[in-house]
Symmetry: C2
């Protein structure tokens, strides 16, 4: 049995809490947050605290907090030589106070607070400063049911950056699709199956092979008609840049 | 029973053929293509031809061919006053020869030739020049199991444009995610569940509400670190433009 203390009360902390609560081999001994507001609803199931000096003894302390407080919060943990990990994609493992054994459990997924999350769909990237801590973190992730991957800091930073492209930027393209359709009285809902199919397609085929459309075909007539239809200069800029990008990828244009 | 003749042998033509073959109320009377190469494999199930002058009499002629041959092919159909439709997102319904009753069956989906397509996930947008043709096209789509939507030409053009954003451009962001990860020895596969979840999220929530990440939070430190990590100038341009776009959408920045 591995005992953990969770620190933080955001989406990642909440999903870790719920995930560990269902396992037989991991026990959440305590849940800390600077305010008890969000934790109060769980007080009958787990020991909650807003006093960092009251932290209980445990095998692993998981800091699922904002990037900018990871360092200072890790200093305040009133123990030494404990395994303390954060869950961020972009913060160095060395930002954790060096009095601890240090590591990272980076869940590569987007979490909504209220939607249930199946950890089978959450790859957890594991990084540790000392080798001995790795199997403990791996066991935590495996108990959640997550696929795991041992990575280094550079790979984690790159994955986090790539995640911005395939998640935040992609979502912004959905947003622009929403803006374009709504502004002309067409229904964004009609695009939803296409959005899902586009994402499904690259589960088994490279994005290179999956590409289609006017930019790849170098269909100048359609590209011109699209640019004419776009009234927003900013939308035109994005259309031009991503069309050029596709044409470059598929050998139609040099950058 | 509605009888149809399919013209063309690409992905859309093939999926329409397979889809109609499963229905009880639509019969594919003939399948035409300028070459019989791809059609030969179906010759035991349907009458095939490469001679436009041998077209059989039918209720509906479906031109699932390249945009630039829709007009000339429709002229060559050796009948008048028949219902002739194309399946393109961007070609005007008036590009069809005016000797016909004219319409459009625009399936708003990305088709792969070999993957099976469930038409329940293919909204079909219907446009007709005369009102009487509409119920016939609607019945074709309903028989396939597709959701249908009556639209006009302007809405169809806008949907096709928006589809380029949410499909082709999104897929290019996946491609860049692939390039970034592979160039640094990280695994693109780790991003696949995130790609799927990002698409699933907007099925029930607006892209505006679904947005997260450093651009939305205006997390300058992470944005700066990402730009430093990007070695390719073109990737940097896309990062900057889409970050600005998100910040504009979420009130962080004026364009």
């Amino acid at each position: 049995m591995i005992s953990v203390v969770i620190l933080g009360a955001g989406n990642v902390a909440t999903h870790f809490y719920k995930g560990f609560s269902k396992t037989e081999n991991v026990s959440v001994k305590q849940w800390y947050n600077r305010s008890l507001d969000t934790l109060n609803q769980y007080k009958n199931s787990v020991d909650i605290t807003d006093n960092i000096n009251n932290l209980k003894d445990a095998d692993v302390y998981i800091l699922a907090v904002s990037d900018d407080v990871i360092g200072t919060l890790s200093e305040k943990i009133p123990f030494e030589n404990k395994l303390v990990v954060h869950t961020s994609g972009s913060v160095s493992v060395y930002d954790l106070d060096k009095k601890h054994k240090r590591g990272v459990l980076y869940p590569l997924q987007t979490f909504s607070k209220h939607a249930e999350m199946d950890f089978a769909n959450v790859p957890i990237c594991i990084e540790t400063v000392d080798k001995k801590s790795y199997p403990i973190l791996k066991e935590l992730a495996v108990n959640l049911g997550s696929p795991t991957k041992k990575i280094n800091s550079e790979q984690r930073r790159v994955l986090h950056l790539a995640a911005v492209f395939v998640n935040n930027f992609t979502n912004q393209l959905y947003r622009i699709g929403h803006e374009i359709t709504e502004s002309k009285g067409a229904e964004f809902d009609l695009l939803k199956p296409l959005i899902l199919e586009t994402a499904k397609k690259v589960q088994g085929m490279s994005p290179y092979m999956a590409q289609t459309g006017p930019a790849k075909r170098n269909d100048k007539k359609t590209i011109k008609a699209h640019l004419k239809l776009l009234e927003n200069k900013h939308h035109k800029d994005i259309y031009n840049l991503l069309t050029t990008s596709i044409q470059h990828t598929h050998g139609r244009k040099k950058l």
